[in-house]
Amino acid sequence: MKESFKICLLLSLFLLVILTIAAGATQEEPPIYIGFDAEEGHVTSTSDDAIRIGILTAIDEINRGGGVLGGRKLELIIKDNRSVPARGIKNIKEFAKINDLVAVIGGKFSPVIIAQLDILHETKMILIDAWGAADIITDHDRDPNYCFRVSLKDSWAIQTMIDHAQKKGAKKLGVLLPVTGWGRSNKKAIDNYLEANSRVSVTKTLWYHWGDKSLLEKYEMARESGAECIILVANEAEGSIFVKEVASLPKEQRLPIVSHWGVSGGNFTKLTGDALEQVDFSVVQTYSFFDEHRPEKLKKFYKTAGKLFGIKGPEDIPSPVGVAHAYDAIHILAQAINQAGTTNRPEIQRALENIDTYDGLIKYYNPPFTKENHSALLLENLFMGRFRLKDGAILRIR
């Protein structure tokens, strides 16, 4: 009796050990989450689609390469802020509650991110901005600073745009700005530029609201003030209205328009139609898939993006800056996670500030961020481009 009981006990123990090993072998490490606070509910915006493509392409590459932290897969969680700041704040609160969610990728709408700054720092949530241009997103006094940027700044954009206007021979500028944090950010950038450059002047600064149905009156006011070129800060909705209105005027009344990149966050050519060809319209950009100046990186990108989204060439990429920014941002983040060796966000924040280099799609980041500089791109990465009507592709103006 005693003998048999012992045998039974031994057998049970043996089975238990086997099962535990088997379970350990088959059970995957828990994933590490990345959030994306996207403006999905925004009707015309395509920048959220572009950023999503960039994120997922990068995640796929990383996961196929063995994930992070020695085999943990990355996983994306998307929340919709509909471009409304209040919703964005709520989303951050919800992201913060998710275990092993290491960072949130920020979208196109600067006002949303600006409104999120407090809650981000309260919850110690890392935000990597892939589009929003307002300077304040990264340039604020909070320490440690949880916001990083793989995108441009309004001050750089304004500088590039006004330089371009000057190249076109315009010295007097009319400025159109939205009554939002982004608009004010640009106003500040223009003011700073004008302080440093006395050769150009702004004859009229005009403010509009998101949702305005016509900007013609404001354009006329700007033109009548003697402006030779219009500096436009707008997204695709108001931008397309403006282009169509200007195109409807007699040719001699159509001023060249130098636009911030908000318009490229939607299917702009589709919204303007032929009207775009009637107007001298240029837009500031950070990256063009047509340049092919880092062919090996581009090839690697096309391989994955082609498999996941059927993207074969630059024509297939909507709102290209969003794709490129997000793609590089995720790779940099993955490197930081590995470098931190944990999912603890303060650790990763520190790791991001301390990455040496990263060889990215847009450029060779050396280093991407420092404690003082949370912007991965530089002024010299910016250029002016022009929409190609047939497919909406943006080509560099040389």
Binding site: V43, R82, S83, V84, A86, V179, H209, W210
Partner: protein
């Protein structure tokens, strides 16, 4: 309390009526005035309520409209997304709003979770915890309105969703908070020192705030729901406005008081006046009654009436006076009248004694008469009890004298216990009239005819019955025998008619076969010898048929069944046809046949029985030819003058034959008679022809006679009365014959095989398609399967006769119920389908040549009628006739 006194009664009545009238008048006018006043005040209150309601409504509506407009303002929308700079403009913008009437408010822009978008916006109530507010505005994207109750004051919370163009969704809430008390006090402006009304604002039935107090008594108010925009409608806000009626009803109270005081005064006045008036009326009456009382007691008035009084009492006094004097006069005259009457009575008694003596004498005479009557005479009382019986009665009933008196009539006459139901006496007793009837006394074996008459007194009052019974036993026996004889005679006659009808049918059927077949045989290729034989068979058969027809005619005439028809026809063609019919027979004997009708003039078209006239003519001419060896036979027609409007014709058939002896000239018109028996053998014939002719002529309103002497020829005369004919209605028979119808599908229903053969043969000659059936049922079965143009229907057949079959066909054509005919299962349905809304012509073929058969056939729905045996032309004519007149 009983009021014996008239004056008290009058007083009380007058006072009572006056008070009741005054009371009712007062009450009616009081309630009328009150209800009028209340109605007027109610109207005022409603009007007043409206004057408060209207500004509240317009205020809230305007407020609602303003907030709704603001929620769509671009500045407000922009503030939703402008996270940094919005405080700069949205706070002043919202603060800058001025409500109507400048009432303080709180206006805030909230995010999608109900939190104020800037911290500077203040609301008294927490919005982020207001689930209903957020769900309604953000999820349902519609406006939200609520009343927030906070201790002593209530606020209106009104929120509108703010739509963001880029998403097309509600992304924020514009919410207004405003104190209801502030609104109402501004609008109502209630002054507690001067205002006495009550005004309350309620949500549904729950009061929100009140101005003034509801008075406890006579409070009248109206509830009016506020008529608000749809967004605010669900708040169910309503106002109550009311006032106390106490003040308004003051005049009525005053009037009531005045009415009461006046009422008491009038009551006292009327009591006094009516008492005085009553006394005035009753005093003379009382004195009058005292006098009358005195007269009643003493018989004489002791006091004089005061006839000087005026008015009704004066008249009464005068009347009393006159009456009393008349009374005295009457007393005097009555005494003298009594004396006179006594004298008269005495003389009357003397007179009566004389009369009674005379009566006694006549009583004896009456007794003698009574007893010497030959019939049984009894006098009976009202109960039919015999009071007196005569001697004959005792003789007949063989009882002792005096035994009948006291017995009941029915005991004596019938030996019964009660009168029979048809007792004439009962009728006499009830109706006071003479009645008669027959009574049988089985015991005596006698039958009486009884007459009972009432005996009335001088005043016409019923006293007794005189009952006379006549012995009619022998008469009755004779009557009975006569009836029996009559019955036997009737039966014999019936049997004869039956026999004739049967014979007619039974003989005609084989005759049809013989004649028909002979005709068919004659149409085949024959040797001259065979042809001769068959020709003779045909002649004999036709002769036999003629004889048969004669017998039938005669029997019809005798039975009164032969009817004279009345059709339009052409007289010349009748005469021509008759002459040509007889020409062959005359020529065979070498006689000349002459027609003299020149005298006819214009009387060409006449109305009468063409067939029967021809029959007579053929008969007479045939006779003349028969009895004339050489010479001629002449037919002469002349018109005859008549008194009436009819057309008289006089026909004469004149021959040069053997003639008729004078003594036989009368008898030749009787049945079965020829001049002598040897004539029969020599000349043939039945002798029925003249008898029939005579009858026919008489039926046509004429007469027939003969003028002849033996050996010098004979002249037969007859006259007829016809009507003037109508040429329009005359139809040429030749027309029908000329248009023979051919190629029809004909259903031949006939049980006799030979007759079927003949008919089929005749029909096939005209290329008709013939379908045969051997009885009515078979015929119907064929009918449902084939379309038929015409049916030839025998009448007498086994299984189903022709009359029944025709009735069924006609019924199915009219879509009638066929269940009454016991037909096989599916037949009725098929029949209805086949025959519905059609009219298939049906021609009867019958050997029943008796009159009345035709009517039976037509009644069964048949279109026409052929008598067997028929000639080929007859059947052709009939088919053409029926097909042409068919409705199709």
């Amino acid at each position: 309390m009983r009021l014996e006194n008239l004056s008290q009664k009058i007083t009380l009545l007058t006072v009572g009526i006056t008070i009741a009238f005054t009371f009712i008048l007062g009450l009616t006018s009081f309630s009328y005035i009150r209800s009028n006043l209340v109605e007027q005040i109610s109207n005022d209150i409603s009007q007043e309520a409206l004057s408060f309601q209207a500004p509240i409504q317009s205020f809230l509506s305007e407020l609602n409209h303003n907030i709704q407009s603001m929620s769509g303002n671009l500045l407000v929308v922009n503030a939703l997304t402008d996270s940094v700079g919005r405080e700069l403009y949205i706070v002043p913008f919202l603060k800058g709003y001025k409500t109507p009437l400048d009432i303080p408010f709180h206006l805030a822009l909230l995010d999608f979770e109900g939190k104020p978008i800037t911290p500077k916006q203040r609301l008294r109530t927490a919005t982020s915890s207001n689930e209903a507010l957020i769900t309604t505005t953000i999820s349902k994207e519609v406006s939200y309105a609520a009343i927030i109750k906070d201790n002593d004051t209530s606020s209106l919370l009104l929120a509108y969703p703010v739509f963001y163009g880029a998403t097309g969704r509600a992304e924020g809430i514009l919410v207004l908070e405003i104190s209801l008390f502030e609104i109402l006090s501004k609008i109502v402006n209630y002054d507690h020192t001067t205002d006495h009304y009550f005004l309350g604002l309620n949500q549904g039935s729950e009061p929100l705030m009140e101005f003034g107090v509801k008075s406890e008594k006579d409070f009248h108010s109206v509830h009016n729901p506020l008529n608000l925009p749809q967004e605010l409608q669900e708040l169910q806000l309503n106002i109550e406005y009311g006032e106390s009626l106490a003040e308004a009803l003051m005049p009525i109270k005053k009037v009531t008081r005045v009415y009461s005081v006046c009422g008491v005064f009038i009551f006292c006045m009327i009591t006094l006046i009516s008492r005085w008036a009553a006394k005035k009326i009753t005093n003379p009456i009382i004195s009058l009654s005292q006098i009358v009382n005195q007269v009643a007691k003493t018989g004489h008035p002791s006091a004089e009436f005061d006839t000087n009084q005026t008015g009704e009492v004066g008249v009464l006094a005068k009347s009393f006076k006159t009456m009393l004097s008349r009374l005295a006069e009457a007393q005097n005259s009555l005494e003298s009248q009594v004396e006179e009457r006594t004298k008269e009575l005495l003389s009357e008694i003397e007179e009566r004694i004389k009369t009674e003596k005379a009566l006694l004498l006549s009583q004896r005479e009456w007794e003698n008469t009574f007893n010497s009557m030959n019939d049984i005479v009894t006098i009976q009382d009202e109960d039919m009890r015999i009071v007196k019986a005569n001697r004959v009665a005792y003789d007949v009933f063989q009882v002792e004298l005096g035994e009948l008196e006291g017995k009941y009539c029915y005991e004596v006459f019938r030996g019964g216990n009660s009168p029979c139901s048809n007792c004439p006496e009962l009728i006499t007793i009830n109706e006071r009239e003479t009645h008669g009837g027959t009574i049988t006394n089985e015991k005596l074996g006698k039958i009486f005819y009884v007459t009972s008459s009432p005996i009335l007194d001088e005043n016409g009052e019923f006293t007794h019955i005189v009952h006379i019974a006549k012995d009619i036993t022998k008469q009755k026996e004779i009557e009975l025998k006569m009836a029996e004889a009559h019955q036997q005679a009737e039966a014999a006659n019936m049997a004869k008619s039956e026999f004739l009808a049967n014979m007619s049918h039974d003989i005609r059927t084989p005759m049809n076969g013989i004649i028909g077949m002979t005709r068919l045989a004659l149409d085949t290729t024959l040797t001259p010898e065979q042809h001769n034989y068959l020709e003779k068979i045909k002649l004999s058969a036709e002769g036999l048929l003629g004889l048969l027809n004669d017998i039938l005619d005669l029997s019809k005439i005798e039975a009164g069944q032969l009817l004279i028809e009345n059709n339009n026809f052409s007289l010349p063609s009748l005469l021509d046809n008759t002459i040509s019919m007889m020409t062959f027979a005359a020529q065979e004997k070498g006689l000349e046949l002459i027609l003299q009708s020149d005298a006819l003039g214009e009387s060409v078209f006449v109305k009468g029985d063409e067939l029967r006239i021809r029959q007579i003519l053929v008969n007479l001419i045939g006779n003349s030819i028969k009895f004339t060896e050489k010479g001629s036979v002449t037919l002469k027609v002349i018109p005859e003058n008549r008194d009436d409007n009819q057309l008289g014709l006089h026909f004469m058939v004149i021959d040069t034959g053997v003639g008729i002896p004078a003594d036989k000239q009368e008898t030749i018109f009787s049945s079965f008679s020829q001049v002598n028996s040897s004539t029969t053998r020599k000349f043939g014939g039945t002798g029925l022809g003249l008898a029939i002719s005579k009858q026919l002529v008489e039926m046509m309103g004429g007469r027939i006679w003969c003028e002849s002497s033996e050996g010098r020829g004979a002249q037969f005369h007859f006259t007829v009365a016809l009507e003037h004919g109508d040429e329009q209605k005359f139809r040429q028979p030749s027309e029908i014959i000329s248009s023979t119808v051919k190629g029809l599908t004909i259903l031949l229903v006939e049980d006799n095989e030979i007759n079927r053969d003949i008919a089929r043969f005749l029909l096939k000659k005209d290329r008709h398609r013939v379908i045969e059936a051997e009885n009515g049922l078979k015929g119907l079965e064929i009918l449902v399967e084939q379309d038929v143009d015409l049916i030839l229907m025998d009448v007498q057949m086994p299984i189903m006769d022709g009359l029944t079959a025709s009735t069924i066909i006609r019924a199915s054509e009219k879509d009638s119920d066929l269940t009454q005919f016991s037909l096989p299962d599916s037949l009725p349905e098929k029949l209805l389908r086949q025959c519905k809304c059609r009219h298939i012509p049906i021609v009867a073929m019958t050997a029943n040549a008796m009159e009345g058969d035709r009517e039976k056939c037509l009644a069964a729905g048949m279109d026409n009628y052929l008598t067997k045996p028929f000639k080929p032309e007859q059947i052709k004519e009939m088919i053409a006739d029926v097909i042409k007149s068919a409705p199709e």
